[in-house]
């Protein structure tokens, strides 16, 4: 069976869904963040596959930017999570509801 861009798209969709589900069901902030990274990577796969399909490199360029931004995001995000952890001594997302209603 030939692996076509369509297959990658399906893979990407699956990965994205896994990421989304991860975000929704996990309790640990770090893991949720990882799930978000999964979503971003699903996007990357999609972009690369489409780049292949439409025969230009824009998609791949986009991927580079997404990766870079994801890295920056990780840096900022982990910093924020760290600050949170320092105050609350927890990274459990259920305990993060001081502000509501």
């Amino acid at each position: 069976m030939e692996i076509t861009p369509a297959h990658y798209t399906v893979l990407s969709a699956a990965l994205f869904t896994i990421g989304v589900i991860g975000v929704l069901v996990r309790r640990n902030i770090i893991i949720i963040f990882m799930a978000i990274e999964l979503m971003l990577n699903a996007v990357n796969i999609n972009l690369v596959a489409h780049a292949q399909q439409v025969e230009n490199l824009v998609g791949q360029v986009f991927v580079v930017f997404v990766i870079a931004v994801a890295a920056a995001e990780a840096a900022v995000g982990l910093g924020i999570i760290l600050a949170f952890y320092r105050n609350k001594e927890t990274v459990n997302i259920d305990e993060m509801n001081v502000m509501r209603w």
Partner: protein
């Protein structure tokens, strides 16, 4: 499209360069010259002012530069001015706040300038990649700014929420963008527009529209993507909330308009329907939820959600008049929203957080001028003449009527009537409740005075004589590509 970059491209991004330079200088100064908050403030303001001058130097241009990545047009210029103005006012009202909270000023101003930089790119980006980069530049800065009160658990929590949900929505947005790229083979808005014209709408494209819409909806805090807003607004340092609710919202609307109006005119029917629904639920939920809030910042968050709903009317209309009216509204919104947050910021003094409604009790008695200013801002937010908010709303609703969106606008006016209730509640606390207020009187420092003065002036003057803004917005809107000049009545 020129084959490569040229020095000319750098010339056109001069304002952004100035801003970046200023930001870097600030960072440098904050390390080398400690305890010089005044200097830092000065540098920030000068940077913003210089950028503003640079931006206005390009006013009137309508150029596509950097191989089609950036537009130097009136539309971009308008949003850049908005971003810079809101940054400047935020900075002005931040100065005393930082002192009270004991926060480091250098990084703070730096982050503000970075966010502003992102906003400027969001305003002029013509390519999904540019827009994405601009968006992230802004968002990353805000993640940090929201959590800038490091010892404060609320601030922490707000930052985490904003960050996680922001990243989550970014994923959705990017997924939508990738679908768009897949369907058209390009990330350039003009290219997408060209590729889609005449093409049958496919399910994938609809999905892409929905995902991109959802991603942008998150940024502008449209229901049901708004859930972060109240929490984040409440937890973030007040000036940051102000900046977030004005600058970020305006820039996101700029990006939204770029993507949908310039990039996806072929799918106009789909996204107009989408935003129609979003507009209705956004303003309704925003207003109704705001009715019973007792925390001022939280109430303003819902009010800001509701305003996003009104602004979406302009998107739904999608005509030049619609866009122009949005720009007017955003311009007006800047003054009144920043003004309100300025006052809430000023309420933070000594041991008093000052963001509860009851903290406003007797405000008018304590300091009549602030009370009067707050009255003006509240009336303006409620859209009651002779304040700027009325002119903004009037013109926004007018555009919708012109486009035949009668039901949308009926819902909107009813909403705006409902909103008057909670804005007046603030007024009741300030003006009518006679109980003796607690705490020390409000001291308005010089920078805060300037910020509030500008906001008040803008709110009142634009309410009585909005001609300049109308004209400016009109000309800015007309430079947006792919805009239709008018839709026949009915």
């Amino acid at each position: 499209m020129p084959a490569g970059f040229s020095t000319l491209d750098f010339y056109f991004i001069l304002p952004e360069l100035v801003l970046t330079g200023g930001a870097l200088l600030l960072l440098l100064l904050s390390v080398t010259v400690p305890k010089q908050d005044g200097v830092l403030l000065g540098v920030t303001l000068v940077t913003i002012a210089t950028t503003l001058v640079a931006v206005s130097a390009f006013a009137g241009l309508d150029e596509t530069v950097s191989r089609g990545l950036l537009a130097i047009d009136g539309f971009a210029a308008f949003f850049k001015v908005l971003a810079l103005l809101s940054a400047a006012l935020t900075v002005l009202m931040s100065a005393p706040y930082l002192r009270v909270e004991g926060l480091k000023a250098g990084e703070y101003y730096f982050l503000i300038l970075c966010a502003t930089l992102g906003m400027m790119f969001m305003a002029s980006g013509l390519d999904l990649i540019t827009l994405f980069i601009g968006l992230e530049t802004m968002a990353l800065s805000f993640y940090v700014l929201v959590g800038y009160l490091k010892p404060n658990p609320r601030s922490n929590e707000a930052a985490v929420k904003y960050f996680l949900l922001g990243a989550f929505s970014l994923g959705i947005l990017l997924y939508g963008m990738s679908l768009l790229y897949g369907a058209t083979g390009t990330t350039s808005l003009a290219g997408i527009s060209a590729a889609l014209s005449g093409q049958e709408t496919s399910a994938v494209l609809v999905l892409a529209v929905i995902l991109v819409g959802a991603g942008m909806g998150f940024k502008i805090a449209a229901v049901p993507f708004h859930m972060w807003a109240p929490d984040v607004y409440e937890g973030a340092p007040t000036p940051v909330t102000a900046f977030l609710s004005v600058g970020s919202k305006a820039a996101s609307f700029a990006m939204l308009l770029r993507i949908f109006v310039e990039g996806l005119p072929a799918l106009a029917e789909e996204w107009k329907t989408l935003f129609w629904g979003l507009a209705v639920v956004t303003m309704t939920v925003g207003n109704i939820a705001a009715l019973t809030q007792s925390n001022l910042k939280r109430m303003l968050a819902y009010s800001s959600i509701a305003h996003a709903g009104y602004l979406l009317i302009g998107v739904v209309v999608g005509t030049e008049r619609g866009v122009a009216s949005m720009l007017v509204y955003l311009g007006v919104y800047l003054f009144m929203q920043l003004g309100v947050f300025g006052i809430v910021t000023a309420m933070r003094r000594g041991d008093i957080i000052g963001d509860e409604l009851k903290d406003l009790t007797g405000l008018f008695k304590r300091s009549p001028v602030v009370g009067f200013a707050m009255l003006c801002f509240m009336l303006s937010l409620g859209g009651i003449p002779p304040t700027a908010g009325f002119m903004g709303k009037m013109w926004l609703f007018g555009a919708a009527i012109d486009a035949g969106e009668i039901w949308l606008v009926v819902i909107a006016v009813l909403n705006s009537a409902v909103s008057a209730y909670y804005y007046l509640r603030v007024v009741v606390f300030m003006w009518i409740n006679e109980d003796e207020p607690a705490g020390s009187p409000i001291a308005i420092g010089p920078t805060m005075a300037v910020a509030l003065g500008v906001a008040l002036l803008g709110t009142v003057v634009l309410g009585v004589y909005p001609q300049a803004l109308f004209e400016y917005a009109q000309s800015a809107a007309s430079t947006l590509d792919g805009i239709t000049s008018s839709i026949a009545l009915r």
